[in-house]
């Protein structure tokens, strides 16, 4: 009797506490730490976003018409729906009604047309290059809430591609000078007065945001902490509530902390070693296959990334994606590798130079781990570490065997950006007409199942014939205080969604 009464009391107390807690501890300003803000050159203009701080700014202040979600699929955002003609050359987007810009005016099709025309101008920024399949004249407004794109060639994945990381809608008529000082977007947060040299950027909740109940946090203070140790220390002590870009060097320190949770992104950056397929010895497909067979994928995931990532099968598509050509890791086979090398005319093994730079987490360790694994098959790899600052300019695309990394992208863009014969970033010098034909066919195939099969074949070709050794995906990992909720790092590091984030 007594016991049951005390239990009731206890339960009542718990209930009371449950109700009381939210009322007492109102959601407060969230402190968010990113590694780099670029100091004086940082910007809140979506068209010139460059580093992680910039993309945070853009993600909090602006919205695109199509959002790319964590599984890299197109989801409606400022556009409610869209459709195309059967040839996939005319795309019509229907905009949401009643969306307000930060200055209180309504967002309509003229703002969307203006934004695309602005970013498609090559003097504005680099978006024009990424959106090369649209010309400024291809965009038009049918009425206040309908925007149409007439593009030259069929493109079944158009909605995914038009949701590019630079294609964030800003108010028509507002130029670069004003966009650099104040936000003119529809995002859940706004910035009234942006000063790049301030150590903290204050984002205030936008009261007239179109989605009721959002944003969850009243405000966000953004700080930049470049050093990983300092970033980890700040999250460990609660000086900041969220810190992005944690890497293996601080996992041990944070894992044991009960107040911090480590949250990985759903997809990751593929770490690769790219061989020029037109340069000896890599011009022999048997050598390329041998170089891939020596890789122990699981060991690389466990040692290089301490398990924080996913296995990759020598192509940029995640194994968990429906576009992947196989869902299990390609096994290691040193004997087969030796045999292939002997057939290719290297019975005594070979010696090659590999270049790596600290341009992505784990890239140098990957090169070193690969060196050890390749040695067992008689391949002597000399690892050359090149300076980080000039790596993309001087090493990448210039050395015949170099480490590289690609952020998570939707299949269509992941396959075309570096593997098409005419790709500007063809880092493996791989030219395969069969592969190009598969991509062309996929572009004009509107049926998703059909398209999926074509992508799977294309992926298989990259893995079996191409010049990229891709053992793992490194996931972006954010450290979040346990009293915070509603945030996970996006699969693509250029995207940030903070409207659900809040802390108690």
């Amino acid at each position: 009797m007594f016991a049951s009464r005390s239990r009731t009391l206890l339960a009542a107390g718990t209930l009371l506490a449950l109700f009381a807690t939210p009322a007492l501890a109102a959601d407060r300003c969230v402190k968010f730490a990113v590694p780099e803000r670029g100091g004086e050159s940082s910007s809140i203009d979506p068209a010139v976003a460059f580093n992680q701080g910039d993309f945070f700014n853009v993600g909090a202040l602006y919205e695109p018409i199509v959002w790319i979600d964590n599984n890299l699929e197109a989801k409606p955002l400022l556009a409610e729906s869209w459709e195309s003609n059967p040839e996939a050359t005319v795309w019509t987007f229907h905009l949401k009604h009643g969306v307000k810009f930060h200055d209180g005016t309504e967002m309509t099709s003229k703002d969307v047309v203006w934004t695309y025309q602005r970013i498609l101008d090559p003097t504005t920024g680099v978006a024009a290059k990424e959106l090369a399949f649209v010309k400024p004249g291809d965009v038009s407004a049918l009425d206040d809430y309908t925007v149409q794109f007439h593009i030259g060639a069929p493109l079944a994945e158009f909605p995914l591609l038009i949701g590019n990381k630079f294609a964030y809608i800003s108010k028509a008529g507002v130029g670069a000078d004003e966009l650099a000082k104040k936000s003119y977007g529809t995002g859940a947060f706004k910035v009234e007065n942006f000063n790049p040299s301030e150590p903290v950027v204050h984002f205030a909740a936008f009261k007239d945001y179109w989605e009721a109940g959002y944003p969850k946090a009243p405000c966000i203070d953004l700080v930049s902490i470049s050093e990983i140790v300092a970033r980890a220390a700040a999250i460990a002590t609660g000086e900041v509530d969220v810190a992005t870009n944690m890497d293996p060097s601080v996992f041990a320190m944070l894992k044991s902390n009960p107040d911090v949770k480590l949250i990985p992104a759903a997809r990751g950056t593929v770490l690769m070693l790219a061989m020029f397929t037109d340069t000896a010895p890599f011009n022999d497909v048997r050598v390329r296959q041998a170089m891939k067979l020596v890789v122990d994928r699981q060991a690389i995931l466990d040692t290089v990334l301490l398990g924080y990532g996913f296995i990759a099968n020598d192509n940029p598509i995640a194994l968990s994606s429906a576009d992947a050509f196989r869902s299990d890791p390609i096994p290691r086979d040193v004997a087969k590798a030796k045999q292939l090398l002997a057939e290719a005319g290297y019975p005594n093994g070979l010696t090659i130079d590999l270049y790596a730079g600290d341009v992505a987490t784990g890239l140098i360790s990957l090169a070193q781990a690969y060196q050890q694994m390749a040695a067992e098959a008689g391949i002597t790899v000399n690892v050359n570490i090149a300076p980080t600052e000039t790596y993309w300019d001087d090493v990448w695309l210039k050395r015949s065997f170099a480490a590289t990394a690609w952020g998570a992208r939707p299949t269509a863009s992941a396959l075309s950006i570096a593997y098409r014969s005419d790709a500007k970033y063809n880092e493996t010098h791989w030219k395969n007409p069969e592969f190009d034909a598969l991509l062309d066919k996929a572009n004009s195939t509107l049926d998703p199942e059909e398209r999926r099969k074509l992508y799977q074949e294309a992926n298989k070709l990259i893995a079996e014939d191409g010049g990229a050794i891709g053992p793992v995906f490194a996931t972006l990992i954010a450290a979040v205080r346990t009293n915070c909720d509603g945030f996970a790092p996006h699969s693509d590091w250029n995207r940030v969604d903070v409207k659900s984030l809040h802390c108690q």
Partner: protein
């Protein structure tokens, strides 16, 4: 007169070194592959786009012409040009950062004095005894730890384990003096320890030498207490060589702040230097390096002048 001539010589030589350094910086920036245009455009640079950005930033003017324009503007107008990435006057960007670094350096210097003097005095008074040996070991250990590691260790101990100090030293301008001191303690301590270990070793040896001198024995025989002997007679005389080290330590701070400010996220001159190097923002890099060189050369010059003035032989000749 000899001293005067020596000092004028030093001054002239320092100025010459500074001009030489300015040329070297400029050449180095020219040689470094990739310019700010390609850095801004990144992987997406096309020759046409590069050309238009370069033109906008006047990178298409011949280097020699650009060098003399630049040097002339600094020498006659104190104008370092405009930063390429943000298009702000370099002077305006640098000034608040230099002020921040001066504040940090001032706190570091305040911590440096007791950290150098107290162990040295204790060691000299307890010469060849356990206390002396113990402090020597600590000193040697600290001497062999590079500043970035020392800073990291301090951060793990005082921030993560004990939570006495914050991890981020950079604060808004509205922070109070107390908040500021609390936030900069760790970076200042890192700088102070790194500087103090050298000075302390030197000061200990000098003190021991002076304590053996006859006038010290005289003072002791007069019946003065050990502390009075130390403070009034030994210390002033053993400080002279240490002043030299201190001047050089001032020069060290310029390098030290680069690492310490970065580690503790302090928005000072050192952080700016790293940012500008990473962005390859040529005018900003040139200005920051030139200012560091000027401080380094200036500190050495002060040390030299100090040595000349304190050298009795040179003094007597004049």
């Amino acid at each position: 007169m000899i001293a005067m001539r020596l000092i004028t010589g030093r001054l002239f030589f320092s100025l010459f070194t500074l001009v030489l350094v300015s040329a070297l910086i400029f050449i180095a920036i020219e040689i470094v592959p990739g310019d700010v245009a390609s850095r801004i455009l990144g992987r997406d640079a096309t020759p046409a786009l590069l050309a238009s950005v370069r033109e906008r930033m006047h990178l298409d003017v011949p280097p020699v012409e650009r060098y003399f324009n630049w040097l002339g503007n600094i020498a006659f107008h104190a104008d370092f040009g405009r930063a390429l990435t943000s298009d702000q006057p370099v002077g305006q960007i640098i000034a608040p950062k230099v002020l921040n670094t001066l504040k940090l350096a001032a706190v570091a210097f305040l911590l440096y004095l007791p950290l150098a003097l107290i162990p040295a005095a204790l060691q000299a008074l307890h010469r060849e005894r356990p206390l002396d040996h113990g402090l020597s070991v600590i000193n040697l250990v600290l001497l062999s730890i590079p500043d970035f590691l020392l800073g990291t260790i301090l951060m793990i101990l005082f921030v993560v384990n004990w939570q006495w100090f914050p991890a981020i030293a950079g604060l808004r301008d509205t922070a109070s003096l107390g908040q500021f001191l609390w936030a900069v303690t760790l970076p200042a301590l890192t700088l102070a320890i790194t500087m103090a270990v050298y000075a302390s070793r030197m000061l200990r040896d000098n003190l021991i030498e002076v304590l053996d001198a006859e006038y010290i024995r005289m003072a002791e025989l007069k019946g003065l207490s050990r502390l009075a002997v130390l403070l009034r007679h030994a210390l002033p005389n053993s400080l002279i060589p240490t002043l030299n080290v201190t001047a050089l330590n001032l020069a060290y701070i310029i390098g030290g702040v680069v690492i310490v400010e970065r580690l503790f996220t302090y928005p000072g001159f050192g952080s700016l230097m790293i940012d500008s190097l990473q962005l390859q923002d040529a005018p900003l890099v040139e200005a920051t390096v030139l200012i560091s060189a000027a401080i380094y050369i200036g500190a050495n010059l002060l040390a030299d002048i100090g040595a000349i003035l304190l050298n009795p032989r040179l003094r007597r000749a004049s």
